[in-house]
Amino acid sequence: MKIDDRKLIAYVDGELDAFGRAEVEAAVAADPVLGVRLEEHRLLRAKVAGAYANVARESVPAQLMAAAKAGAEADPDNVVKLADRRKPPPAPKPQVKVTLPAWSSVAATLMVGAVAGYLISQQNAGVLAPSMDGALVAKGGLARALNNNLSASSGPARLAISFKTADGRYCRTFQADAQRIAGIACREGPRWIARMTTAAPAPTKTFDYRTAASATAPAVLAAVDGMIEGEPLDRAGEMAAKARRWRD
């Protein structure tokens, strides 16, 4: 019987029963070319498995660990209450990805420019970090707030205005008081990408929905004006958008 690639690969993957294995072994014994092919596939399986083996041995980034442990906050019905009750999370330690080649972080820094360079140098308690494609991505407490909090809820990162852009993205204005950064982050795929950032005004003590707009930095408001399509989302609109994970 002819042994095709499908059967050869099933042999390598341990998917054949005793009869199938004997069949392959007999065919390989009779055909050296088939034997070479089998070895190639064996080697490939080992190579591919080996290429990623070290990932599972790396220590899990703190942010990911926090996401797994903070699950209760993701319950849509509990979010507002929990956000109000929650203590500000401890500032995450500056996190170095050991697998990232040194040049890539340098390149990313150059790409996102001076603002990002400043933020990185401050370690900014992990609210924004450049990704390998050069985008400035919301991290940690800011990412959680963008995902989970409705505007004007309290917390270390405060959201004031949520809106949609002409190309259908959800964007939100944010202010991280500890880092004195304000700006606009837009949902792109699974990430919140900072579209603009500016130094934040000093934190105000009270921050409720009615004063949300006036408490927002003028530079941020001006940028919103240039990006917004239609009206800002009201509370119901935010809840609906949040339920869809800020995607369409």
């Binding site: 499908r6 690969i9 498995a49 990932v55 899990v60 993701a74 990704s131 991505v137």
Partner: protein
């Protein structure tokens, strides 16, 4: 922490490994893992205790990645005309460059179509059986094995071409 959260924490190294195999870079891999964890926790009630949590989360990751890939291909189409224009006359040089580069396994994986890369990642990287991998991908076993055969032959050709 709930029981499910404890189990998810234990799964994180493997989830990251799968994410690294199916995305094309480190930052995307951790973002995809995080999205998977968030979605899993949001839908924790849908998981049946006693069934395999890893397979359930792999499926969530697969769906998250497909959503992401769709969004990216929409973006790519918007920019396609200009890029096509720029590439005229450079295809031959680019192809030669690709072969001259010592292609690592990761580079070869990155060049596979998504469906083949997912199949290869689940079986070769995560060590799932065909039945388990087919269930994660929500396809018949025959479809899974076709993707495995095509994907592996493409990897072999790619790695051999670079040697």
């Amino acid at each position: 922490m709930d029981e499910i959260q404890r189990e998810i924490v234990e799964l994180l190294p493997r989830l990251r490994r799968l994410a690294r195999a199916i995305t094309r870079d480190v930052a995307d891999a951790d973002d995809l893992t995080q999205l998977t964890v968030e979605r899993a926790l949001l839908r924790a009630a849908q998981w049946t205790p006693g069934t395999r949590l890893d397979s359930w989360m792999y499926r969530i990751m697969k769906n998250a990645w497909i959503d992401e890939a769709r969004a990216r291909s929409r973006q790519a189409r918007v920019f396609a005309p200009e890029e096509q224009g720029l590439n005229i006359g450079t295809d031959g040089a680019a192809a030669m460059e690709a072969h001259l580069q010592a292609a690592s396994v990761e580079q070869a994986m990155a060049r596979l179509p998504d469906d083949q890369r997912l199949a290869v990642a689940l079986v070769l990287v995560e060590g799932l059986s065909y039945r388990e991998a087919a269930a994660v991908l929500e396809v018949p076993e025959g479809t899974l094995t076709s993707r495995l055969v095509r994907g592996r032959n493409a990897l072999l050709a790619d790695l051999r071409g670079a040697a």
